[in-house]
Symmetry: C2
Subunit: 312 residues, 2 copies
């Protein structure tokens, strides 16, 4: 079952790892949010791409769910000695990724080919695609600081500022890459990981033309709820929903995705949700162990197969 999954960072990486255990490598394409990407010290840092890459290669720090296990921060300490304002944690091994990526970007390569190259060199057999080749940046309009870039909001201010609205800088110039086009066109199902819908998935869905391309596919298009029992598993999703005036529930997620999805997975702790016009199911969606990840991937794939030939 050729699967395309849209993901953000840590939450998405868990599902991606589960899927990678279950599917033949050629059947899995992971489309990654790049609107969190940033420049640090002149280097291009792609936090979500790296989280996916480090997770699938087994390098990831199991505690944080991002970064490389056992990584040190000597380079950053030297930056601090140079008087640099060091607030974004980058490990010494991690820097190698950013340095190689930046060198290749400066040499004119596309982020898609660079990502493929890095993943290959880490022996990752699945296909990891950045959502776009050109830079797109989530800009967060906050009550306290006005407009700030995503990492300033997320890391520097630990997502404490109150969000008024979000916009995507550069999205009008973004376009579907040939690789993404091909992946969606040949997919047997499209999954939306339990990543933050507004911060991680919205940028992907905002690529001009992608919504229509997804809608044109008569296949299961399933989102897994990141809201479980009225709370976010991790990160600012619940806080953000409140600030955006939304009910913190899986229902709001279904409403947000609208007709993009025709199937929805919510957690077993949640009450039955009325999901108009879409298939839905209750599963354990909380992925604490590797077994949870594999189990969720297996269950979702099997459930989709059960109705794949009769999508609503």
């Amino acid at each position: 079952m050729k699967t395309v999954v849209l993901v953000g960072g840590v939450g998405g990486a868990k599902l991606a790892l589960g899927l990678a255990h279950v599917l033949p490598p050629d059947d899995l394409t992971i489309v990654v949010n790049t609107a969190d990407d940033t420049w640090m010290y002149g280097l291009r840092v792609c936090p979500d791409l790296d989280t996916i890459m480090y997770t699938l290669s087994g390098l990831v720090d199991p505690q944080n769910g991002w970064g490389i296990a056992g990584d040190t921060t000597k380079l950053l300490e030297a930056m601090r000695r140079y008087g640099e304002d060091v607030w974004f944690k980058l490990g010494d091994q991690d820097f190698a990724t950013h340095i190689l990526r930046t060198r290749w970007l400066n040499a004119g390569h596309r982020l898609t080919s660079i990502t493929e190259r890095l993943a290959k060199r880490l022996s990752i057999p699945q296909c990891i695609l950045p959502m776009v080749d050109l830079p797109v940046a989530t800009i967060v309009d906050t009550v306290e600081h006005g407009e700030i870039d995503f990492q300033t909001y997320f890391v520097r201010y630990r997502w404490q500022p109150t969000v008024k609205s979000l916009r995507l800088d550069g999205i009008e110039k973004a376009s579907i890459s040939p690789e993404l086009q091909q992946a969606v066109e040949s997919a047997d199902c499209l999954l939306v990981a339990p990543s933050n819908p507004w911060l991680s998935v919205a940028p992907i869905l905002s690529i001009p033309g992608l919504r229509d391309l997804m809608l044109s596919r008569p296949i299961p298009r399933v989102a897994i709820s990141p809201i479980v029992g009225g709370q976010a598993i991790k990160g600012p999703a619940a806080k953000l929903m409140t600030e955006l005036g939304l009910e913190v529930s899986a229902r709001s997620v279904v409403a947000y995705y609208g007709d993009i999805i025709n199937g929805f997975v919510y957690d077993q702790v949640d009450h039955e949700i009325e999901v108009p016009l879409v298939h839905s199911t209750r599963l354990n969606t909380v992925m604490l162990t590797d077994n949870d990840k594999v189990q969720l991937a297996t269950n979702v794939l099997e459930w989709m197969k059960s109705w794949a030939k009769t999508p609503s």
Copy 2:
């Protein structure tokens, strides 16, 4: 006594450190070879500038005489994991220097201002000047490999290839920076450190106009011999001299510098050298301890003072 000293890497750094102990900070300008500079992973690495900077800031690895004491190589290990051909040692802390420098170069700053900025941030009060702002590269023509860049010759092949000749790529576009012009014009003496004359000092002296500018100054212009007792203290100087058909002796160094110098310091182990038309003296030039460095700096400065008003 306003002193301008021309230096390469490790040997030059020793003398620079001695001079820094003896002279008021404002009276010392260190002009550094940049023809060894190279691009590594898209980052600009300036080995001699860094050696001087790390030495004067006290960060330097006392064993090697270059790099930062206690530095680790986790980033390089990650590069190796990515399949990169890792042959040029760069420490994790060291990388911070190259990343900042590259960022500022890419932002359009001159190497001279970047070097000043880095040195200031390490609280170095002396003036460190790169010999030029634009890239100049020593190209080594070898019997075994044909033309190779300096670091390939020096580090990758550990200066084992047989040198046929040397040339400086980009030297015709190089020009004296305003800061270098000003330093030489206001100097009370010009020193040439016991660095490799052909590999470290020649590039500096090859900057169009610098020879004439130096010759125009009626002040002590003194070189310290890097050849002691027919041997190089460190590095390929003696081997290179043989390959270039020169006698391995302080005499060859005097001959090479010609009228650029009007004073010469050679080591006490050497026999009296006939130095036509220039002042000369025998001193302990081997700098093993910090005290040796301070002593040599003191002795050279005092000796120059003794004849400064009657240069030949």
